[in-house]
Every structure is written in structure tokens, then in C-alpha cells.
């Protein structure tokens, strides 16, 4: 496993290839369906006027996303009543739902790593080539194990989206993932899709 400290450099990102196991250490931020739609509508397309604490939240997340990682995760969080937050279970959620948004979010924020599960499609892969960036696959369902790598919860933005959809700022140590989409056009997901399609056609030809 290759140990990598956040934030990234272009050099580190370009050195990563499909299949490389990595352990991440540093600060990252969670964001999933509602957060991606909010970022795109409010700050990228600007089809929705910023309101409430939107501008303040943007100012806070922008430096974390620049050269950083977003984690597709809706955690189980303890300490909600005392605000002494602790991640109890924090595996990845399915990333493909963010495919309409992810590439534009990467370009807008200079976001260099997307962490989730199940992989993403051609729009995100194109952004990985441009920014440059990578897609890091965490093991779906490994929620207790991954929560152990979250050493501290540093804060939370947009908690009104609900606990799973809020943007949690976390400090991680040796967060485990595998590169499955790289900055050179490589995608394990595209490869497995093609190979399994050929296998399906063989099975249906009888």
C-alpha cells in the first residue's frame, strides 16, 4: 500500500495507476447526492441563488476541495446531541449517481480525488485526465473498519441536508482505497464492463 498525504500534487496524482492500493492521511470532506446538486446549482451553473449560509459554506469547503479529496459517504455519526461528533460507520456510497455532476465539480474546485464505490463513467474519467485527478475505490460495506481510520471530525457544513447528506470535514489516517480510474484514461470499471458483457453474450448464445 502506498502512503499518500493530502493535499495532492499533480505529480503524485499522475503517478497513480489503476490497481494501486493507497492509504490516505490528512483532511478530506464528505459529499454525496444533495451536496453535489447544491454545488453545481449554486456555484457552477448558478441556476439557484446562494442563500442562508451558502456563501460561508463555500468559502470553508473551497480550500479543502482544492487539491483535495471528496468522499461519497453518508456516515453514521455519534454525538449529534452534544456536537462532539464521532464517526461510527463510514463506508462509501455508490458513486455513479454523481456522474452528471462530478466532472464539473472537479474542474470548478480543482478537486483531485473522488472516493466512493462502484466507479464512475466517461464524464468523470475525462475530468480525471484534465484536472488531473483519480477515482479511489473504497470497499463498500466496510463501514466499521473505515470509521477506525477517521481520527477526528473537524466540522460539518450543510447539516440541514440531514446527517447522511451533510458535508463532514474529517481527519483520516491510512484510509484504505484502490485506484480504479486514473489520470491517463485507465478505468478498471470500463474494462470489467466490457469483459463481463462478452461473457454475458456467450452465456446467452446457447
Amino acid at each position: 500500500m502506498r502512503a499518500i498525504t493530502l493535499p495532492f500534487s499533480d505529480e503524485v496524482i499522475r503517478s497513480l495507476k489503476v490497481g494501486d492500493p493507497v492509504g490516505l492521511t490528512g483532511v478530506m470532506i464528505t459529499g454525496r447526492d444533495t451536496a453535489h446538486k447544491w454545488m453545481i446549482d449554486t456555484f457552477v451553473k448558478k441556476s439557484r441563488p446562494a442563500q442562508g449560509d451558502d456563501a460561508a459554506a463555500y468559502a470553508a469547503i473551497q480550500p479543502l476541495l482544492a487539491g483535495g479529496a471528496i468522499y461519497h459517504c453518508g456516515p453514521v455519526v455519534a454525538g449529534l446531541d452534544t456536537h462532539d461528533y464521532r464517526f461510527v460507520a463510514a463506508g462509501p456510497t455508490t458513486s455513479i449517481r454523481e456522474e452528471p455532476y462530478q466532472g464539473d465539480v472537479m474542474r470548478h474546485f480543482h478537486l483531485q480525488a473522488v472516493i466512493g464505490k462502484g466507479g464512475m463513467g466517461p464524464k468523470t474519467l475525462a475530468a480525471c485526465g484534465e484536472v488531473p485527478g483519480v477515482y479511489l475505490h473504497a470497499i463498500g460495506g466496510a463501514a466499521t473498519l473505515i470509521a477506525q481510520t477517521v481520527t477526528r471530525v473537524l466540522g460539518v457544513y450543510k447539516l440541514e441536508f440531514g446527517v447522511p447528506e451533510a458535508m463532514w470535514v474529517i481527519e483520516v489516517k491510512d484510509f484504505p482505497a484502490v485506484v480504479t480510474m486514473d489520470a491517463h484514461g485507465g478505468s478498471l470499471h470500463a474494462q470489467v464492463e466490457i469483459e463481463s458483457k462478452a461473457a454475458l453474450e456467450r452465456l446467452l448464445s446457447v
Binding site: 461510527v88 456510497t93 455508490t94 466507479g119 440531514g162 458483457k197 446467452l204
Partner: protein
């Protein structure tokens, strides 16, 4: 009337944090089939390590604790209204204790209720009156990732060459597994209802997931198709997490239903590897969770 709220909390805790032995054994068998050093092998290593850790720490195996789906078989005279109230109270308490993530989102206002209570279908509670004195409560925690890759086909389906027979069923199930890739947290367990209407078949496709892995359908034709589909789905090579590998499904469970002459539905519910199901049996004051 007996108050079972605390026992329901324990049922939820066990289901969320302690994977059933048959599922864990199937994952261990799958781990051994993958080559050392492969991404697939690494996935199984992590999955099994997480299963141990969740049990030890009494923490959720997966953060998506899903829709709690209860199947309650109760003796005559038991108040289902009171049982529902106790189940709902237990869901709130389990959320407070972090055994469940607050998962109930109002689709119109987008508000998360914060305590896992939504409309009458959230949590889902099915009641059935049965003979005898026992109260049996089955619980399935089914997350959203795998729920999203469930599928329903109306036969015939010409693009898949699927007619209205078991060969047609075979074809559409393999197509559904291919479409799911790793998105539903492969290797999954498939619950498939053959027949029924659009609603009843989805219900049945989830209920059949309570069979243990390897427990065959009582119908020999369906049992043979279960074996064949398990082997063929694994030949797709999708593997754990969609990384490529020898195990794409841990098992396939089929159930046959009556249908209308005009309809032939095949309905698949995909359950992720974190197949969280437990059963609570109440005999008088004695409560057992298995």
C-alpha cells in the same frame, strides 16, 4: 400487553452489527477462491475483517442501515397496532444509539426526519396472523445501493431472446446481474420472484432473501435453475466490488408465484454482501434472537 420495545432494539442491534453465520461462511469460501494479491482477494480480506470488527464493537457493518423491513407472524389476538408502535419506538431508540443511520427522507420536502420514522411504509412492517402461540419477527436491513440495482422484466423480452419460460427467466436474471456490475456491493444474494404482479413480486423477491445461503427452493425445477444461475452469474467475472473475480453472487433464491394470463414478470431484488437478516422468536416471556 407485553412491551417488546427493548427486545426489538436488540433485534435491530444484532441485525445491523452481527452478520449471520451462513453469509459469513459464504464470504470465507469466496475469499479462498481468489488469487493471493488480487484486488478481489483484498476486497474479501477487508470485508471479513470489517465483519469481525463490527461484531466486536457492536457497530453497524455498513453505514447504510437501509430500510428496516419487518415481517411479523403473530398469533390470533395479538394487537398489531401495539406491535407497530413498539417497533417504531425501537427504531427511534436504535437510531439514537447509532445502530441505525437516520434514513427516512421526505421525497417532497427533502427533509430527513432524523429518527428513521417516515410514513406507514418506513419502517416497513408486514403482519400475518399464523396458528400457534409464537410470535416470530424477521428483520432485513436493506441498503439503498443494492436496492437501486433491483430490476423487473416483463416477458417476453425480445432483445434478450427471453420467452415466457424458465429459460427466459435465466436470461433476464443474467442481464440484471450484468447491469448491476459492482454497484450493489457485489457479491450479492439474489431474490427472484417469477410471476405475480408488479407489486406482489417485489414483496416476494425480498421475502425469499430470508432463505439461508445454499438452501434450495423446494421446487426441483427452480432449485436446478438456482444452481445454474449461481454458476453462470459467477462466470460473468464481475467479482467483489466489480473489481473482477470469481465470485459475483453468493447465491440465488427463486420463488414461483401465480400470474395473470397476460403477465409474466421476473422481479429481482439484489441484496449486498452485507446481508443483514435476523429472526426473533417470542414464546411467552422467552425471547430468542437467531
Amino acid at each position: 400487553m407485553q412491551d417488546l420495545t427493548e427486545q426489538f432494539v436488540e433485534l435491530i442491534r444484532r441485525t445491523s452489527t452481527d452478520l449471520p453465520p451462513d453469509v459469513e461462511a459464504a464470504l470465507q469460501r469466496a475469499q479462498q477462491t481468489e488469487a493471493q494479491g488480487s484486488a478481489a482477494r483484498g476486497s474479501f480480506d477487508t470485508i471479513l475483517q470489517n465483519v469481525h470488527m463490527a461484531r466486536e464493537k457492536s457497530a453497524p457493518i455498513c453505514q447504510d442501515t437501509g430500510t428496516p423491513i419487518f415481517y411479523v407472524r403473530h398469533p390470533q389476538g395479538r394487537s398489531t397496532r401495539q406491535l407497530r408502535e413498539q417497533i417504531r419506538a425501537a427504531v427511534v431508540e436504535s437510531t439514537r444509539r447509532s445502530y441505525l443511520r437516520p434514513n427516512a427522507v421526505d421525497s417532497v420536502t427533502d427533509q430527513n426526519s432524523g429518527n428513521n420514522l417516515g410514513d406507514s411504509a418506513f419502517p416497513t412492517v408486514h403482519f400475518e396472523e399464523v396458528e400457534g402461540d409464537e410470535l416470530v419477527v424477521d428483520l432485513l436491513l436493506k441498503g439503498g445501493g443494492c436496492e437501486n440495482v433491483g430490476a423487473q422484466y416483463s416477458l417476453p423480452n425480445s432483445s434478450l431472446g427471453a420467452g415466457r419460460d424458465l429459460e427466459g427467466v435465466r436470461r433476464v436474471v443474467l442481464d440484471a446481474v450484468h447491469r448491476a456490475q459492482g454497484q450493489g456491493c457485489a457479491p450479492g444474494v439474489l431474490g427472484v420472484a417469477v410471476g405475480g404482479d408488479r407489486g406482489s413480486s417485489y414483496y416476494a423477491s425480498k421475502e425469499v432473501l430470508f432463505r439461508k445461503i445454499g438452501e434450495a427452493s423446494p421446487d426441483p425445477k427452480l432449485a436446478a435453475l438456482e444452481t445454474r444461475l449461481t454458476e453462470e452469474a459467477n462466470q460473468l467475472g464481475i467479482g467483489p466490488m466489480g473489481f473482477g473475480g470469481k465470485t459475483t453472487v453468493l447465491g440465488v433464491h427463486l420463488t414461483g408465484m401465480h400470474r395473470l394470463p397476460a403477465c409474466f414478470f421476473v422481479t429481482m431484488s439484489y441484496m449486498c454482501w452485507a446481508h443483514r437478516r435476523r429472526r426473533m422468536t417470542v414464546r411467552g416471556e422467552q425471547v430468542e434472537i437467531a
